[in-house]
């Protein structure tokens, strides 16, 4: 199969992206975000998990959480390129919500086949979810987990669980005698304890989740296969989020460089400011193009999707790092304060940069595909 020239990004996708951008611009300003998440500046604070549930419910009603769900399970079955367009806009707004987690769970559950259908239907009906598949080390190897399963009972701890306190369901990977299985667990189930992490990023919450004799139903007994199938979509969507956030960083910094004057010129006059901002733009565009290429491959060129998604997330991680670095530096002293909105995106991007594999990790995987594993 080959990819359509327009990334499969058709009229419907364009409409969705535009309306999401407008919806967020109208309803969720950066000023509002700052008031909501940055009230406590103490370095020792425990993340507050502040978010706008009412606005989130409107998004659910707009159908955003069921875009990726196959029509057979009550969703809209939109292509990943369209979903990526929406996520790019959420990244631009840095809107705290469990959309990415729910989409991630959707792609994994879809890969589980029939056994995942009931859970998908729950998401289609408005339930939210997140992945609980990472161990204490933060290993991105899909076979690694901090949770064990013995005769349908889960014990252990999942780490680095994103937006855990915002969701209704967890998609947990656990080791069995036969390999790795996936389980669909309610966050309020007996034996589940959510321990919030104190994190840098103010726009997300994160937790480790403790399982003590939790009764659970498996949605897949071949967890590695289901996760491997879904991971390219998960990397691509995070890269889309990074793209949107980086564009916010670029535009905010360009605006500042146009107004702030030093040495009788706006900052943007000086090439030591101008040229790095152009390089930020170049990285954003590289990343964005690779995101839609990977998204399109997910639906039309499955043989090469892993390769393309590694490229997208490696590129996105570089982009997140550089856009963040230049956004703070080009603002000078004000960029170093809690009061300037720049720090919200800086922290979100540093979080995204490392999540689900940093640039070097993705490049190492890419090399294994393109060159072959080293002797």
């Amino acid at each position: 199969m080959t990819q359509p020239d327009n990334f499969g990004f058709g009229e419907e996708a364009a409409l969705l992206k535009d309306s999401a951008r407008k919806f967020l611009a109208d309803n969720f300003t950066t000023d509002k975000l700052h008031r909501m998440v940055a009230s406590d500046h103490r370095p020792e604070r425990i993340s507050a998990c502040a978010w706008d549930r009412d606005l989130w419910q409107q998004m659910v009603r707009l159908g955003w959480t069921s875009l990726a769900i196959p029509e057979s399970a009550g969703g809209l079955g939109m292509p990943l390129a369209a979903v990526a367009g929406l996520v790019e806009e959420l990244g631009r707004a840095a809107f705290p919500c469990p959309l990415l987690g729910s989409l991630n769970a959707t792609y994994v559950l879809t890969a589980c086949g029939n056994d995942g259908e009931a859970a998908l239907t729950e998401i289609a009906e408005g339930m939210t979810a997140t992945l609980a598949i990472t161990n204490a080390e933060g290993s991105w190897d899909l076979a690694d987990t901090g949770v064990d399963s013995t005769s349908g009972q889960l014990n252990g701890t999942a780490y680095f669980v994103q937006d855990a306190r915002k969701v209704d369901r967890l998609l947990v990977s656990a080791r069995t005698t036969k390999g790795l299985s996936l389980y669909w667990v309610a966050t309020d189930a007996e034996g589940v304890t959510i321990r919030p992490d104190a994190i840098v990023d103010l726009t997300r919450d994160q937790a480790h989740v403790i399982f003590e004799n939790v009764q659970a139903q498996a949605v897949s007994n071949n967890g590695v296969a289901a996760l491997s199938h879904a991971m390219p979509a998960i990397w691509t969507l995070l890269a889309a989020d990074i793209t949107g956030a980086a564009e916010w960083q670029l535009q905010a910094t360009v605006e500042y460089a146009g107004t702030r004057q030093q040495f009788e010129h706006p900052l943007g006059f000086f090439q030591a400011v101008k040229h790095p901002l152009v390089d930020v733009m170049v990285l954003i565009d590289q990343c964005k193009s690779l995101v839609y290429n990977a998204a399109c491959a997910f639906d039309t060129e499955p043989k090469r999707v892993a390769q393309f998604a590694h490229m997208a997330k490696a590129s996105a991680s570089e982009c997140a790092a550089f856009a963040s670095s230049r956004s703070v530096q080009s603002h000078g002293g004000i960029g170093f304060t809690w009061e300037c909105f720049i720090h919200l995106y800086f922290k979100r991007q540093k979080h995204s940069q490392l999540l689900w594999g940093d640039a070097a990790w993705h490049r190492a995987q890419l090399a294994n595909i393109l060159i072959g594993t080293a002797a």
Partner: protein
């Protein structure tokens, strides 16, 4: 089916089939001489005539100038040059020698010349029978192009030209030159005018072409001296004093951001050619031994190569995305990055290739032991031509920062 084939209009689809069939039986034979990296390093008549033969046959077959009107020697088609380019590149044909003609002179002449002049000049430009060069840069005017001093003085309905152009690629083979001159010393921009000049006909009679030797040891560019050269006013493009605006048409196309698609072929794979891309770099790393193992097994080299693979793929996908308006916020943002990215990526690939070769990267074309015939060090050196010519990378970053991001204009 190729990526773009799916989106073809009926005209494009039919034309694509035609190109494919024609190319299947008309691909040129292996050259008997080493071909340079690009048309800008053509040094000998043998290289030129091989490449000219190819361009002529491609033009006669209708694969060059497809989107120009029939009256000026074009194919009269709509958005079909892109199709021909896809197919020529897929068929790995040689590149076309008349690059400056096709990429810069043709769109400029087309947009700014009188009808009769277009009809006279364009057919032989497209066929490659007449080679073109570009007389813009001068010893004192490079990045600050509008400060050119070569002067054209009016004499009835003729002009007398005096001055000194440098870095003039292909001038040693050129029949024609697009020439930016000053016609008024009191205005920097509005004092410029634009001519097409038959330079070959005037060699030794007002025009002197002297080769300049490049960093690689190759020739390919020249200095061109004008001493009281007389040209007819009919060779002026657009109005007097509008030279800067005309030059903008040229530069936009030179940087790959113009509206007329430049005919492009290339990618020929043979002993005679070299191309700085990551596929060749990976091949090199596989074949190069390091501590008894392939260099391609070294984790640092792998990481370096993957960084380049990603940049190269990103540029390819930028070009694809540039045709999807719903995925762009600014119409020129991607197009204006093309030249900057292509040249800097090629440079980084060349640099990495030399590191992969290690000590053997010291060996040049004349050494039988040089890996890949010594082409990588040559390609690396040549890559600076691309980051300097057509507006340096620094100038490109100024343009992007000012036109796309709206930052204050730098001096």
């Amino acid at each position: 089916m190729s990526e773009s084939a799916r989106q073809d209009s009926p005209e494009q689809a039919e034309f694509r089939d035609y190109c494919r069939q024609w190319l299947a039986s008309n691909k040129p034979k292996e050259p008997s001489v080493r071909l340079p990296l690009s048309p800008l390093e053509i040094m000998t008549e043998e290289q030129l005539s091989y490449l000219q033969g190819w361009q002529k046959s491609a033009y006669d077959a209708g694969l060059v100038g497809c989107d120009y009107p029939v009256a000026v020697g074009g194919g009269g088609r709509t958005d079909c040059q892109r199709v021909a380019n896809d197919e020529m590149i897929a068929a790995r044909t040689p590149f076309m020698p008349n690059v400056i003609g096709l990429g810069m002179a043709a769109p400029t002449v087309f947009h700014h010349a009188q009808e009769a002049l277009k009809e006279r000049l364009l057919p032989r430009l497209f066929s490659g029978q007449e080679i073109w060069c570009q007389g813009f840069s001068e010893p004192g005017a490079g990045s600050d192009l509008a400060s050119v001093q070569t002067f054209a003085e009016r004499k009835g309905d003729r002009w007398v030209i005096n001055g000194h152009k440098v870095w003039t690629s292909l001038a040693h083979f050129a029949d024609w030159m697009i020439l930016l001159v000053r016609t008024d010393r009191s205005h920097k921009y509005d004092g410029l005018s634009y001519f097409v000049v038959p330079i070959r006909a005037a060699l030794g009679q007002g025009v002197t072409v002297q080769p300049l030797i490049k960093i690689t040891g190759e020739t390919g560019f020249n200095e061109v001296i004008f001493e009281n050269l007389e040209v007819d006013d009919g060779y002026r493009l657009d109005e007097l004093g509008k030279g800067w605006q005309v030059a903008m048409t040229t530069l936009l196309h030179e940087r790959g951001a113009g509206e007329l698609q430049t005919p492009r072929s290339g990618g020929m794979k043979s002993k005679a050619t070299h191309s700085s891309n990551t596929a060749n770099l990976i091949e090199l790393a596989r074949c190069t031994s390091r501590n008894g193992k392939p260099a391609a097994d070294d984790p640092l080299i792998r990481d370096r190569i993957m960084q380049l693979v990603i940049r190269e793929a990103g540029l390819g996908q930028n070009q694809r995305r540039a045709r999807v308006s719903a995925l762009q916020d600014h119409p020129a943002r991607l197009l204006l990055q093309n030249k900057l990215l292509a040249s800097e990526i090629a440079q980084a690939i060349g640099a990495t290739a030399m590191e992969v070769e290690g000590a053997s990267a010291s060996l040049y074309l004349g050494d039988d032991n040089a890996p890949a015939g010594g082409q990588w060090p040559m390609a690396y050196m040549n890559s600076y031509g691309m980051t300097i010519a057509a507006g340096t990378s620094e100038v490109q970053r100024n343009i992007l920062g000012e036109r796309v991001l709206g930052l204050a204009k730098s001096k």
